[in-house]
Subunit: 399 residues, 2 copies
């Protein structure tokens, strides 16, 4: 092992330390439509029978099967539309005109399709040899009985699940809460896109990359602020942004004279869990905690920011939401690849069926390859040579 990396921990240790410092998931009552895509935290029991009444499955005529000898005409007493109902009890030998979704009245138990009926004024005669008792009637509670379990805790709330839950009249559901996230972007040189830059300035892209990546997980940060490379201002901003589950900072975590993030975090009472990881990109990664707030200090280079987000922050979000966002695949390496030992490399990759190609331009300040990558390939710390055809881990990042 290279002595150069002696004050750093390995990727595995870093991930274990983060895992150990995660807080338990919270449960939050959420309006049904917003809950789509979340994990259900408590099982749902039906508050009603569904259908809530014996319901006609057809446009036709409802009658008492036992009051019909297979030949006799039935006297039509009234009409029941969907959404209305009749308080009358139907007599044997009588029928009601009924429509799909309408409640079958007391005294009736079967519905004949309108296509199988001949109408003679107020009377109908039925021409349906196959008709059986109970035909075309969806019995009350036949889909779900009141009190029965409809969805079990732990399932993903799909659009169809939303439809099912709405159908039993429930407007809010308990799901595992998304974490509250704040972002602080540091750097004197940063200017927002859409504005002109002066000598020495560059465009601020890290908050954009992070917000876009969070939006794909259905998360909007509570606040995103910028701060210059000035310690007092950094301390102020950190103090004002610490009230969240995950505070993400970018830049200022190296050891330069103007890297105030780690010292400012210390002065704000954030306890360091680790600083510097044996990885490329993202060596200067800082992780700490204050109360229940997890604090990630990411380096300033954009590729390091995105890599650390996918590798370290997404798993923490998953701990909150209980949701797995990205697949990890074992794929065949399309080319041979060499690296120095000592650091885990996270490389921008592009998959093609069962193959993965490592893209050119892996430096932490370059985003051209990352922009078109669909996965991050992890190459282990000590290994130097990877042969074409070897199996590697590709973590998909496309949603």
């Amino acid at each position: 092992m290279s002595l150069y990396y002696i004050d750093m921990i390995s990727v595995i240790e870093a991930k274990k330390l983060i895992e150990e410092n995660c807080e338990p998931s919270r449960i939050i009552l959420t309006p049904l439509l917003e809950a789509c895509g979340s994990i259900l935290a408590e099982s749902i029991f039906s508050p009603i029978d569904t259908p809530p009444f014996d319901q006609s499955a057809m446009d036709g005529f409802a009658f008492s099967f036992d009051g019909w000898n297979g030949k006799n005409e039935l006297f039509v007493t009234e009409e029941i539309q969907a959404g209305s109902f009749s308080n009358n009890t139907l007599k044997p030998g009588h029928a009601v005109r009924i429509f799909t979704g309408a409640p079958v009245p007391k005294g009736a138990d079967s519905v004949v399709m309108q296509e199988k009926v001949v109408i003679n004024g107020q009377y109908i005669s039925i021409d349906d040899q196959m008709l059986s008792k109970g035909a075309n009637v969806r019995l009350s509670g036949s889909q779900t009985k009141k009190g029965a379990i409809v969805l079990e805790a732990g399932v993903l709330i799909t659009p169809a699940a939303v439809s099912l839950i709405a159908g039993i009249g429930i407007a809010d559901v308990n799901v595992f809460a998304k974490p509250k996230i704040n972002i602080i972007v540091t750097g004197n040189e940063l200017v927002k896109p859409g504005h002109p830059i002066s000598e020495g300035q560059i465009y601020e892209s890290n908050s954009y990359g992070l917000m876009a990546a969070l939006s794909q997980l259905g998360i909007i940060p509570d606040s995103v602020v910028m701060v210059g490379d000035e310690e007092d201002e950094t301390i102020d901003k950190i103090m004002s942004q610490l009230k969240c589950d995950i505070l993400i900072l970018t830049g200022g975590v190296s050891m330069g004279n103007y890297d105030f993030v780690t010292s400012a975090l210390d002065k704000c009472g954030v306890t360091k869990v680790f600083h510097k990881v044996k990885q490329k990109p993202g060596k200067p990664l800082f992780f700490g905690k204050k109360g229940s707030t997890l604090v990630f200090g990411l380096p300033g280079n954009p590729a390091a920011v995105m890599t650390c987000f996918y590798e370290y922050i997404v798993p923490v979000i998953s701990r909150f939401t209980r949701k797995k966002y990205y697949k990890s695949l074992q794929l065949t390496l399309a080319q041979s690849y060499g690296k120095k030992p000592g650091l885990t490399h996270f490389l921008k990759g592009k998959t093609n069926e069962s193959y993965v190609t490592i893209l050119p331009g892996q430096e932490s300040y370059l985003m051209n390859s990352f922009a078109v990558a669909d996965c991050v390939v992890e190459l282990e710390e000590e290994k130097e040579h990877f042969n074409a055809g070897e199996s590697v881990v590709a973590k998909m990042i496309v949603r």
Copy 2:
């Protein structure tokens, strides 16, 4: 072929007719963060060199390599922080203290890391045998030259692409526009979830299922309205909602006395393209067009609504956005399955590696299985028997 289905068209014909009636995609200038997940409609060319200036990649000292003989001490004239700059031209034998991201001043071409320097008052001596000319300097334009193509039209805008685009200062991008969608839910019997129901009423779930499914594609309908089974009211609502790309109606498309949707659409000037498809669920599906507005009349049963959404409306949305939302897989059927000939069956399925199981409860009014399904299995129109181990098409619906 059963005579019963003689007035219906096949699924393939229906999809072809929809395809033929689709309008061309539109291009829309969109704020960068909102564009994440969309398809880029026009290639992006860099308006600037990146880095925009020769940039130090390290905290250290910048100097002229040719003005250093490998031994001589260098006189440190000033300090340049990231975000600031110097107008002075550095003389040979001089150096500036410089930090990561700061502009290398005129006259300097190389940066030595601070760890490889001994400081003697105003002077430094360099102890770095490996140092070469140009070391630790990211040359202006080395990532992207002004005017060079950064991303090609047709690529998916990933979070990393957002970071890349922000980094060249662009705040808005041209993407293929999502369609504007309106929804009209019909039915006298419908009550919103969260409210009590009376005799004969049921909960309205279709707008919830549709809105949830649309939200997974990043689309919020412009308007969602309810209307009773009354023709004049239905006509009014349709007229007020026709200004969109896709108008979706649910319910009222069968041939009952209170099914006013098709007649109301006709009176509103919507030209019928087809009505009724040889499929289960969703037989009464209506498709028409007025001007450039595509109109889908879906049946009222919730499983039919969701099936028709995934089968017919998602492909239209894809035509607008140029994005493929769901994968179609060839999977092995886990059980044998029988059906009558004449209708294509769309069945709720659950995949497990390379197998797919057809779930119980396939009726169009039941949502319990759909809620936990991850795919729709398509079984072809005329075929009756499907054996365990046979290969079938499973269309994934989980995002």
